[in-house]
């Protein structure tokens, strides 16, 4: 699975979120083949190359188009909370779309 995390600048929050998501998903048994972090402005252009986009909640509306195309977009409130990431993944379509190892 290819994941992208995005925040305003692409250098702080998105990087922290990428670590949390990658660690949590691998622990849950998903195979992450690619993980990148970037800014909101860039993310809109490259989101199509990823299976799931994670972003902090204030930015989630920026990804309406990705959602319309059927892409998974997940908003996270606390970027260091493994528990929140895990819960949000389980609530999403990820468990049915992707199989675990």
């Amino acid at each position: 699975m290819k994941i992208l995390t995005a925040c305003a600048n692409g250098s702080g929050t998105s990087l922290m979120l990428m670590r949390t998501v990658k660690k949590t998903m691998e622990k849950m048994g998903y195979q992450i083949t690619q993980a990148d972090h970037t800014s909101i402005s860039e993310a809109k252009g490259i989101a199509r190359n990823y299976d799931v986009v994670f972003t902090s909640i204030p930015f989630i509306k920026m990804f309406d188009e990705v959602k319309k195309r059927g892409g998974e977009v997940i908003g996270i409130k606390n970027v260091i909370s493994a528990k929140e990431v895990e819960d949000k993944i389980n609530e999403s379509d990820i468990p049915t779309k992707f199989k675990k190892n």
Binding site: S11, G12, L15, M16, R19, S56, P58, I80
Partner: protein
Amino acid sequence: MLRYFLENHLINISTEHPQNWEDAIRVSGEIMKSNNLVTDKYVDQVIADVKKYGPYIVIVPGVAMPHSQADSSGVLGTGIGLTIFPEAVSFDKDDSEKDAQLFFMLAAKDNKQHMENIANLSNMLMEDGLIEDLRKVKSLEDYHQVMDKYELSTEESR
């Protein structure tokens, strides 16, 4: 990581409460400027970003991570500076979850070093009870005590 702030003179325990969040970001820029990590230009950008995007830099209740574009010309070096205020600072009067008392300002010139810093910072913030303990710090002595308490369990950097 707690030791990193101390050893690199990147800790500021402020005894004065800032007037508002903007002032708090300016104060947290001081320790970065005195270490030649950023210039005022960067601090201005951080403030402009918050005005534009909202208080997204408050990453967990109580903790702000002020930062702006990594390629800004106001960034001179790579590092994280910690400023602790006596009380929480409000970013959004309608949302107390966006109050912050610990300000970790980021500067990222060297990407690899920055990745390591962020990894260490997130590991540190994930330690149970650490954020609460740091929020109670009023002096360097207090800070040393917190450091002693978490020393064994935190990964060291640098």
